[in-house]
Each structure stands twice: as structure tokens, then as C-alpha cells.
């Protein structure tokens, strides 16, 4: 196989050809097949992975409920982390666990004090997730519970709406 026909078509690496220590490039062997430079492809893939990891985090996971139609607001702010209270079919869920409205204040206080002890940034903040057709009498237990448990920041989850639409 010393004088194989295939050898004339062998792939010459562009890195090897440009090496200063022992270049592979030969005057008599011209590269007939070129290699794809995959480094830029790896770079692009890495950037895509990092972008997807950052932008599709699990922060909104407890808010995701297909049965709820959130209201729209044009002056909405970026949603930050907090204790998530969801109202769905007249039932109250604190961090995805169902809580009766009568003990909502106690459950919220317990959850908030646990976050305060840990020094968690979510402490003192509540995110209310409710359907846009809910009446205020259903929201009232949550707002009362927040007032009782020293939660000053109440955030209503909304769909951002472009101004003028």
C-alpha cells in the first residue's frame, strides 16, 4: 500500500500544513479533499447552549398553568423570584401545594420565615398567579395573608403587552 491511489487523495489537515515544527505540507502532495473547520461550529453551538440555558430557566415553572389566562399589562416589570401563590378553581396553591384559605396566612408565614432564615432573596415577596376573570373576593384572602405575614412586595403575574396594542 506504499503507492496506494488513495494516498494521493488523503486528507491534509490545515493545522498540520501550517505547523512550524514539522509541517506536513509537501510540494508533491496537493490536498484534493479539504477538511471542514469545525471550531467555529463548536463555538456557535456553545453560544446557543449557553443562551438557551440562561433564557429558559426554571424560574417560571410554578407559574406555568394552561388553565389560567393571566391578565395583560403594558407597564409590567420583569418577574423576579418570590413565593408563588396560585388561585385555580377557587383553590389556593402555595409553591404548588394546595393550602386551604383559612390557613393560608399561617402557611405563608411559615414559608416566608424559612426563606428569611436561609437568607433567600425570595423572602418578603409574593407572586400572585390568578385567572383574569377571578373576582376580588377570591384574591382577598391572599392579600390579607400577605399583609399579616409582613410581605410588602406583592407581584401580580401578567402577560406583558406592548404599549398601544
Amino acid at each position: 500500500m506504499k503507492f496506494s491511489a488513495l494516498k494521493t487523495e488523503m486528507m491534509n489537515s490545515p493545522i498540520s500544513n501550517q505547523a512550524t515544527v514539522r509541517p506536513r505540507k509537501s510540494i508533491f502532495r496537493r490536498p484534493l479533499v479539504t477538511t471542514l473547520i469545525l471550531t467555529s461550529l463548536v463555538d456557535a453551538f456553545s453560544i446557543l447552549v449557553i443562551y438557551l440555558l440562561v433564557n429558559t430557566g426554571a424560574a417560571t415553572e410554578p407559574l406555568d398553568s394552561k388553565q389560567l389566562q393571566l391578565p395583560f399589562a403594558s407597564q409590567s416589570e420583569v418577574l423576579q423570584a418570590g413565593l408563588v401563590i396560585r388561585i385555580e378553581n377557587n383553590r389556593y396553591y402555595l409553591n404548588d401545594q394546595e393550602v386551604r384559605s383559612t390557613i393560608l396566612g399561617d402557611a405563608l408565614e411559615k414559608a416566608n420565615s424559612a426563606l428569611v432564615d436561609k437568607g433567600d432573596e425570595r423572602s418578603g415577596k409574593a407572586i400572585i398567579v390568578a385567572d383574569q376573570n377571578v373576582k376580588f373576593e377570591d384574591l382577598n384572602p391572599v392579600i390579607t395573608a400577605c399583609s399579616q405575614t409582613q410581605i410588602k412586595k406583592i407581584k401580580f403575574a401578567v402577560y406583558p403587552e406592548e404599549p398601544g396594542t
Binding site: S13, I15, S16, A19, V21, R22, R24, L38, T39, L41, V42, F45, S46, L48, V49, L52, L53, N55, T56, T60, E61, L63, D64, L70, P71, F72, A73, S74, Q75, S76, E77, V78, L79, Q80, I127, A130, D131, Q132, N133, V134, K135, F136, E137, L139, N140, I143, T144, C146, S147, Q150, I151, K152, K153, I154, K155, F156, A157, V158, Y159, P160
Partner: protein, 148 residues
Amino acid sequence: MSRNREENFEINLLPVISILAVCISFLLLTAVWIKIGSMDVSQAVGPVTAEQKPNPPSLQIRMDQGGRLLLSIKDTPKMNNATLTIDRTTDGIDWDAFDRAVIRATSKVPELKTVLIFPSAEFRYRDLIKMMDGMKKKGLPDIGIAPL
């Protein structure tokens, strides 16, 4: 050192590309693309401090049993306790009249920054958000909601 040893070598990038491609596919499939924002409200909690400061001027919005809105400006000598009533239309709240009333209030009392909403039990959540949204648009950032 062997003379035949390769000084130049290439890393095989194909497995790296395969892994990254699998990662991208997985992330694209599991991504949540719905953006959710928040409408923030700062509630006053806890006991009143010993140092009694004068209350800043505030716009108070109440709802009566007939679904009418009652707007009044408190704690300002310019329009103290002046109340404006906005009647309900067949479609619900007359948002145009409400907007005009708020614009009039902010033009008469430019230092007005605080709004306190007293919703009725029947008040819809979407109307509450729309009201707060309108307030923020008109430069009234400090909004509070009073429980029933």
C-alpha cells in the same frame, strides 16, 4: 523522545458537536417561551412608627355596590376630599371617563404619586390590573390595594 512522535495533533471535535447538538435539541424542546411579567404593589404592613409624618397626597378609588367608581384626593389642601363619581356603562367600567378623571387629578396635584384602591368583592381581577396599569402609565407608581 521518539522521532516518529507527532508534534502536531488535532482534537476530534465530532463527539463534542454531537453532545452540543443533543443539548440544543433537549433545551429547545423543554423551553418555556411564554414571557410572564409582573405588576408590583407595595403594601403597608406592620405598626405605625412613633414619628408621625404628614401623609403624602393620595388618590383613593372606591367601588360602590352599583359598580360605580368614587375617586377622591386625600391629604392635600388643593382638592381635599373632593370626590368624583364615574358611572358604570353597559360594557363595565367607563375607562375613558376614568382616564380623564385621573389626568385631571394629576394635573391639579402634580405631587400626587400614591394611589389606594378599595375594590369591591365583585371587582374583576383583569379590571384591577387594567386600573393599576393605567395608573402607572400616568406616572402614579405607588399603588396599594386595601383588603375587603
